[in-house]
Symmetry: C2
Subunit: 199 residues, 2 copies
């Protein structure tokens, strides 16, 4: 076996661990928490299906690759729910530093040229500046909202989320890359928050 | 909300059910069966990482899309393990017909143009004739072998698989699209079968 293939196998076997990282969002029927591996699959499918919602300059194939990789750092760091600690935990500097170190380690398992390429893709996603990254990030915020609603509340129950909180933490980020999608999602979730007097 | 977006949401929410379809292969640590959603994520990542193993005429972005979709029919039909019934169950005509009907139903949830496009992509994968489909199918056979080995045997234990059986049912299909990968995988799994006198 070539060393190159050995390194690629090592990376792919390491990546499998993402299936054991659990998230705050339940799967569709509420029976268990979603894991970050299957979450990444959902998001790649969202990018494929919602391609016609993408703004100018979005490269869909690149967005799909980004979404396949975007959560690998959670193998080392875990998933930090967006509604934990009143929304403050998710973008804490210590967390961002730990994620950056995890990315160096995990993509560092690959052959050097390939590791650098995929690390750059992850960094582009995190920086959230290019049209492709903004589209991908917006999808990453959309899917848990639809899943929570489908499961009857999911992590909104656990963290006592109100609609204004959701709009600030999540809605604004969805609207940045997917304005029409956010309008549609907001209309869908409104009755859930209205029924609980969390408007 | 536009009808188009409603149809896309309906498809994406239906697709979530793939996370509840379990496979014969365990996840990396052997703690539970893999589900077909996270399996699809793994395969898309394999296509991305093993792109330099692809033969002439393979479109990697198309292979990734194919692999994201390839198991959706299991929402209706379930996963049929490749080693069940001595390998006979997997390509039975009744199963293939049920999968085709499932594809019509599931991709039929999408807007007509998009549903037709993704159905054609699934059919291309199933036909296993284009270089892209052969590459994708070969990956679909590779990942469970590496996972079984990593988990200490996995579905090879359950179905009493020998190396000649594995070579016939799986190895030949891997070698068709990924000859170098099959050589490397075969070298890795040989000790497991040798230790059990299943050569
Ligand atoms: Ca995420």
């Amino acid at each position: 076996m070539t060393t190159r293939l050995e390194q690629q196998f090592a990376f792919l076997l390491e990546a499998e661990k993402l299936k054991s990282v659990t998230r705050a969002t339940p799967i569709h029927d509420g029976s268990r928490p979603e894991n970050s591996g299957e979450h990444s699959w959902s998001l790649a499918l969202y990018a494929l299906v919602l391609a016609d919602q993408a703004g100018h300059g979005v490269d869909i194939s690149r967005a799909i690759r980004m979404l396949l990789l975007h959560d690998l750092v959670e193998i080392d760091v875990g998933d930090v729910p967006i509604h934990a600690q009143g929304g403050a935990a998710h973008d804490a500097p210590a967390l961002l530093a730990a994620e950056a170190a995890a990315a160096e380690r995990i993509f560092g398992l690959l052959p050097e040229d390939q590791g650098a390429e995929l690390l750059a893709l992850w960094q582009e996603f995190e920086a959230n500046e290019t049209p492709t990254a903004v589209f991908a990030k917006s999808l990453d915020r959309t899917q848990p909202v639809l899943l929570n609603l489908r499961a009857g509340g999911g992590s909104w129950e656990e963290f006592n989320v109100t609609l204004p909180q959701l709009e600030a933490r999540v809605g604004a980020k969805i609207a940045r890359g997917l304005p029409e999608v956010w309008q549609a999602v907001r209309a869908r979730i409104l009755p859930w928050f209205a029924a609980r007097e969390r408007l």
